[in-house]
Symmetry: C2
Subunit: 187 residues, 2 copies
Amino acid sequence: MEEKLREHIQKRVPLTDDEFAFVLAHFTLKKYKKHQFLIQEGEPVSYSYFVVSGLLKLVYTDELGKQHIVSFAMEDWWETDFQAYFAQTRATMSLDCLEDTVVFCLSLENYHKLCAGLQRFERFFLQLTIAGSIAAQRRILSLLTTQAKERYEQLFNQYPTLIQRVPKTLLASYLGVSRETLSRLSD
Amino acid sequence: MEEKLREHIQKRVPLTDDEFAFVLAHFTLKKYKKHQFLIQEGEPVSYSYFVVSGLLKLVYTDELGKQHIVSFAMEDWWETDFQAYFAQTRATMSLDCLEDTVVFCLSLENYHKLCAGLQRFERFFLQLTIAGSIAAQRRILSLLTTQAKERYEQLFNQYPTLIQRVPKTLLASYLGVSRETLSRLSD
């Protein structure tokens, strides 16, 4: 478990054994079963999560009760309701397990301690956030410019394993298309 | 001009006079006229831009030649083709002026020098990027969940001055709605 986190960070910044021990001391490991919630809408957001194994979905429920998939998160991804996490407000989204999932949890207090105590961790987190921003910009562009078919193909090319692991109804919600449209596309 | 940059950074991290002088030495000031391009699609992306005054649009042109507004940037905002800037690849989008515009330009080399030389600047940039990521996530949610009318109202409430300064056709493109739909909404 620990090695996955270390490899993930070391893809971006080097770490000595002592530095990694310092990093690791700020995380707690938790295991969740399929269908369990890590974040519930309306509740405080205690952690940011690094996914060791499994699959999560971040969901926004609109006023009519319709669910929208904001993102999926599988191995090697970070996920939380970032707005609520950093502002320490209540969650506007929920995060729950599509598969049994193992995560490393980082509280905001420990995040700040880590950044203050180890400049390399702050640098790692900046690089991670820049990559996330760029991915978000690509998704905006995809929602603005492309038709359902292209969006499905883009997702398929980018994350082929994700498509196999996620139920079609949820994929359709993520892509902003109807379940019927998705069935036509993925046949 | 310099004071605007200093105030902008100091909203997030404190800076001594010496530290700000160090920061400022890494930027160059440039002035552009309305309609001039800062970034052209297919060209290298030399800078990230902090807008001192004026208004920019970041535009993606699809295969059919249709233009899509990825974002606007006015006073106090940063803009560039971030993917191309950080990867030092060629621009997939263009950035041009909707008004006469003054910007501080930061090359990637100077960005790295600044982060290496002043930890507070790296912290500032991390906070800025986190805020940008959260805004991007909200925009994704808005594109997935809301109808044209709500999107227009959200934008109006968030950036009332932007709506007055941007031509309706471009607002429609940003919101992903037709020009006709926008006219009905904004009457």
